[in-house]
């Protein structure tokens, strides 16, 4: 009896595990496992592994030459890998290139369009190769519909980037790969593009985003991986990454009288302090005790709090911390 129960239990656990695995597999849009790419003596991508879930915006961050573009090009089927395994929606980008074409939309870092191609021609050209109707609505959405008859060479950098994104999204691919999508864009275009990315994500599109722009990654990405010299040195949500660092939270306080002006004054968890433009500025390793103590101190001195600002360490600070330390942290 005990043996039967044990067998049933094992079968149940096995089925449950399998079911979890299947569910997990279906939730994953992009899998990269031990990817390697070597150019001569130089290892551009050195055994990186990550997963991107369906509907997620995944940021690939790193300094120039870190291997972001090479990794993306392997996923796009443009480069032969020297090791590892990749899957985009269970499709092998190296072997099933034909199938891959309709699964991904790619905005390359470089132009990728003939100089004399007009905007409407580009839309018709790429739509036809994907077997879909041209999406002129995307051109309108991205504010380049009035440039329909303009040649690619006459477009501004921002317009070229927006056209490139429209073309990448024209066949409504489940996975979008964007390599530096906002490089060279003005603030308004950047906001517009971020809105479009959010809209696409809300419709279930998975976005793999390579960027130098930490603010963009922090704002847009659900999770990020930081690449350094071909290796992933940190991965997680932007919040997790910043929390894992040694970055101190900045607390700027202004009181009505001079209760905070004593240079010898200290508060719990404060590692550094300074003053700037009438504010006492504290860098705290543990924000809770510091803020409580500051408020209590001001009240105890009969002073009045005018302003208190808390600035969390940014992803950029964490990124710099990781990259300048050679990824050892």
């Amino acid at each position: 009896m005990q043996k039967v129960i044990s067998k049933c239990k094992t079968e149940y656990e096995s089925k449950t595990k399998l079911s979890k695995e299947v569910k997990h597999m279906n939730d994953v849009a992009v899998t990269v496992n031990g990817l390697r790419k070597i150019y001569g003596d130089s290892t551009a991508v050195d055994g990186i592994s990550f997963e991107v879930k369906r509907g997620e915006i995944f940021g690939l961050l790193g300094p120039n030459g870190a291997g972001k573009t090479t990794a993306l090009e392997c996923l796009e089927g443009l480069r032969r890998t020297d090791g590892g395994r990749m899957r985009i929606l269970e499709t092998d980008p190296e072997r099933e290139t034909r199938k891959l074409r309709n699964l991904i939309g790619v905005q390359l870092q470089t132009s990728g369009l003939p100089e004399s191609m007009r905007v409407d021609e580009a839309m018709r050209f790429f739509s036809a190769y994907h077997g879909v109707e041209p999406r002129y609505d995307l051109l309108e959405r991205l504010g380049i519909k009035e440039k329909m008859s303009a040649q690619y060479r006459t477009l501004s950098t921002g317009q070229q980037r927006r056209l490139s994104l429209a073309l990448a999204a024209t066949h409504n691919p489940p996975v979008l790969i964007l390599d530096e999508p906002t490089a060279g864009l003005d603030v308004a275009s950047r906001v517009e593009l971020h809105e479009l990315m959010s809209e696409l994500q809300s419709r279930g599109t998975t976005i793999l985003l390579a960027t130098h722009d930490m603010a963009e990654a922090e704002k847009m990405a659900n999770r990020v991986a930081i690449l350094l010299r071909g290796k992933i040195v940190a991965t997680g949500t932007p919040r997790e990454l910043t929390a894992a660092g040694e970055g101190l939270t900045k607390v700027s306080v202004r009181a009505e009288d001079s209760s905070l002006s004593d240079p010898g004054l200290t508060f719990p968890a404060v590692k550094q302090q300074t003053s700037k433009e009438g504010y006492a500025v504290y860098y705290s390793a543990d924000i809770g005790p510091t803020v409580s103590a500051i408020i209590a101190y001001i009240q105890s001195k009969g002073d009045r709090l005018i302003d208190l600002r808390v600035e969390r360490p940014s992803l950029e600070e964490r990124f710099l911390e990781i990259t300048t330390s050679g990824g050892l942290r």
């Binding site: 443009l78 132009s111 990728g112 191609m117 021609e121 790429f126």
Partner: protein
């Protein structure tokens, strides 16, 4: 089919829209034709007899050998092919559609020359029109193949110019365009048999104008066709999506195999 039509339509318009291509497809060959016909007609009383084959072959090699390779190299170097690959544009379309659109431009220019040369310069017209049309089409096909092959193997536009001029300049001097092949010294006549222009003018003179030629015109046509097919096969084999891609299947010097039919012709004819 829609993709092919869109792609062809774009490439054809590019042949007029791009100043360099407009120059190579129409302005330079037609300008050269008018200028040379004006002067050579006065210098050489027999020029009107060889004018049509010479000028048409000149038009074809200008558009295909000089004009066609550079855009292919530039497109590859600027990452346009990478974008094409990602979006499912087949390599075959990248190679054949520009060749086809250039052939159409060349045929338009050839029609202009054929229509105007007898009126303005008293050029002799072909006696056998079907073979004339056939040979012009085959020559355009062959030279387009050479143009595509040069575009595929050239690492950059400077190398393209080198390869193109290696065919273009000798063709001008030895290929029967300006000077009939049968009046060349024997050694130069033999060397000229490494050039597609020699076989094209020979086939046109022999089969379309029924003139005496120094070697078989039918074999000229066969050799031309063989080298054209070989050029496209080699271009397809050696094609790479971008210069950083290390997966090219063969060394670029393999392209010299395209001369094999001409070497056979040089030995046997």
């Amino acid at each position: 089919m829609t993709a092919f039509v869109n792609h062809f339509s774009f490439e054809f318009r590019t042949g007029i829209r791009e100043k360099t291509l407009l120059l190579m497809n129409y302005l330079f060959p037609l300008g050269f034709y008018f200028m040379v016909s004006l002067f050579m007609g006065q210098l050489n009383p027999y020029f009107h007899e060889t004018m049509l084959p010479g000028m048409i072959v000149f038009t074809i090699i200008t558009a295909t050998i000089l004009g066609l390779p550079n855009p292919l190299v530039s497109a590859r170097e600027s990452g346009i092919y990478r974008s094409y690959k990602i979006n499912g544009v087949p390599a075959m379309s990248i190679l054949t559609i520009p060749a086809l659109s250039t052939m159409i431009h060349v045929i338009i220019a050839a029609i202009i020359i054929t229509a105007t040369a007898p009126i303005f310069f008293g050029a002799t017209l072909p006696v056998n029109w079907p073979t004339f049309v056939l040979i012009v089409l085959v020559t355009a096909f062959v030279c387009a193949g050479f143009g595509v092959l040069i575009g595929v193997i050239s690492k950059n536009t400077r190398v393209t110019i080198l390869w193109s001029q290696l065919i273009f300049l000798p063709s001008m001097m030895l290929g029967g365009i300006m000077v009939p092949n049968n009046i060349l010294p024997p050694i130069l006549s033999k060397i000229s048999m490494l050039l597609p222009a020699t076989y094209a003018t020979n086939a046109l003179q022999g089969l379309s104008f029924n003139r005496d030629v120094s070697f078989s015109s039918s074999w000229s046509l066969a050799i031309l066709l063989a080298s054209g097919i070989l050029a496209f096969v080699l271009a397809s084999y050696l094609f790479s999506w971008d210069s950083r891609n290390t997966t090219r299947r063969g060394h670029s010097l393999m392209a010299l195999l395209v001369l094999a039919p001409f070497i056979i012709g040089m030995v046997l004819l």
